[in-house]
């Protein structure tokens, strides 16, 4: 009797878990299809309508990249003070100065810098993309583009994807440089006895050529993931005003998840390459 009751109670749980799993699988399939369509349009229409698409890419880089420079500068300085300055002081006190370079490259260059930048870009440009494209679709402007023979993916998604990929890469590089430089300055101000040549020498020794390649690849893909996920949510279905906040929150969660999963895959790359 009790076993039967347990089975009865667990049924809704399995049903709801199964439904959720199917929902996630469907979402993943739709996102993958959207990403593939975007890639196909990017490849097939690379040189098409440059007079229209290039200014769009530039304006998106301005919005998602240049306008974020003050915030990224602040975060770079904070990262230098909070993480690098303290870590350098701690390692020096423990007599483990020889590990400064390795710790900095692992923490700042490979992990913290790219992820932090991606999250900032997502907060600034990703969410704006959902609202912008969702409004365009609700106002019928996407249909108007189609009526003029303009491919909405080419006009709306490609510029954002290229711009966000470029922006995340450039901002990450800037953040890392600023954090490493300011980190040394803060350590110096705390009286840590390490010379600039030793500090930067250790960083140079810890960096491998793979770090530059994987950093470029990873940050560009972070930008592309953010763009594709947010454009998908803006364009996929008709959004009522009441839906916008919920869809935007969902897009943020999925973008962060996508970036973290991608980061984990790159971890494999760092280990084996």
């Amino acid at each position: 009797m009790s076993a039967a009751r347990d089975a009865g109670a667990s049924q809704p749980f399995f049903e709801s878990a199964g439904r959720r799993a199917l929902g996630v699988a469907r979402l993943f399939r739709e996102l993958a299809a959207f990403a593939l369509i975007t890639l196909a349009v990017l490849v097939t229409k690379l040189g098409v309508s440059r007079r229209v698409v290039h200014p769009l890419v530039s304006s998106q880089i301005w919005e998602a990249g240049v306008r974020l420079l003050p915030l990224i500068s602040f975060l770079g300085l904070a990262l230098g003070l909070l993480v690098i300055g303290q870590t350098t002081a701690l390692l020096t006190r423990l007599g483990a100065q020889q590990f400064i370079g390795t710790v900095m490259v692992t923490v700042v260059v490979r992990e913290l810098g790219p992820l932090l930048t991606a999250i900032v870009v997502l907060a600034r440009a990703g969410t704006a993309t959902v609202v912008e494209l969702g409004t365009m679709r609700a106002m019928g402007e996407v249909r108007a583009l189609e009526s003029l023979g303009i491919d909405p993916i080419h006009y709306l998604v490609i510029p954002r994807t290229l711009a966000l990929a470029t922006a995340v890469f450039c901002l990450t590089t800037y953040l890392i440089l600023l954090a490493l430089l300011s980190g040394y300055c803060f350590a110096f101000l705390q009286g840590v006895p390490i010379k600039p040549a030793a500090y930067f020498g250790q960083l140079g020794d810890a960096l491998r050529w793979q770090d530059f390649v994987l950093l470029g690849l990873k940050t560009s893909l972070f930008g592309a993931v953010i763009a594709v996920v947010n454009c998908y949510h803006g364009l996929a279905r008709h959004l009522a005003i009441a839906d916008v906040s919920e869809v935007t929150a969902r897009a943020v969660v999925q973008s962060v998840t996508g970036c973290v999963v991608l980061d984990a895959l790159f971890l494999v790359g760092y280990v084996f390459v």
Binding site: S49, M139, G140, E141, E146, S147, L148, G149
Partner: protein, 256 residues
């Protein structure tokens, strides 16, 4: 052998623009021949806009067969679709669905620049010329939301005309207009059609409207959407007698 129509709908089901599940009009048989001027009338929410969007190939047909320039739409490649889009102008109802982040001039320039048929200076010259023709030159640098709905709709018309077209769909151009604005539309469309005829490039025109007032004597063909069906009116008396909201007593027959 019959000459192929510009656009042909054979047993087409017309669904709502935002919800393909909702079928608004069933079993539409409609042939739009070269140079014809159609006026399709129907009450509010009867499906006029969706019918025009479906005929223009902007919304997939819920059922049946849609042929554009003699080619079945579902069999056509993406290249063919883009080719059609450039030959079919569409003026949306309401405020014309202008791009809010672009100025009036940029809205008109966009298709010219995107398709790259003209150089930058020729494109600008053409866009400014069209705005002048429509009495919109003074508003060229303004964002669309600074214009009233009537003027926004005119910009939508100019944008649709910026590239050379063979067929023009205009969705409910007279809705909510002052009599002087309504007269402007009627005269502009008549002149446009006459200019195309003079150049020996006949323009097929499809307009939707709440009733036939103003269009009688200008348009050549009339149809009504009623009882979820598309009804061609061949009898001039039936056309003259039709009023929006009145019980439909026209001829219900397939127009193939």
């Amino acid at each position: 052998m019959s000459v192929s129509a510009e656009i042909e709908l054979i047993g087409v089901g017309v669904s709502h623009e935002d919800d393909p599940e909702i079928v608004l009009i069933r079993d539409v048989h409609w042939r739009i021949e070269t140079g014809e001027w159609w006026v399709v009338s129907g009450g509010p929410a009867s499906g006029k806009s969706s019918l025009l969007s479906t005929a223009a190939g902007l919304i997939p047909a819920a059922a049946g067969e849609l042929r554009i320039f003699g080619r079945e739409v579902v069999e056509a490649s993406e290249q063919e679709h883009v080719g059609w889009r450039r030959q079919i102008g569409f003026v949306f109802g309401g405020g014309g669905r202008l791009f809010g982040n672009l100025s009036v001039l940029e809205n008109v320039l966009l298709p010219l620049q995107y398709h790259g048929d003209l150089g930058p200076f020729e494109a600008l010259e053409r866009a400014e010329g069209l705005l002048e023709l429509a009495g919109l030159r003074a508003y060229a640098d303004l964002p669309p939301d600074r214009l009233g709905t009537a003027l926004q709709r005119r910009v939508g018309l100019v944008r649709a005309l910026s590239v050379p077209i063979r067929v023009l769909f205009v969705d409910n151009p007279l809705a909510g207009l002052a009599p002087s604005d309504a007269r402007w539309w009627l005269e502009f469309l008549s002149d446009l059609r006459a200019r195309h005829a003079e150049r020996n490039e006949p323009l097929s025109l499809v307009v939707s409207s709440f009733d036939f007032e103003g269009w009688l004597g200008r348009a050549s063909r009339f149809a009504v959407i009623a009882e979820r069906g598309f009804h061609r009116l061949d009898d001039p008396e039936a056309v003259a007698a039709y009023r929006e909201g009145s019980p439909f007593r026209g001829q219900a027959r397939p127009s193939v």
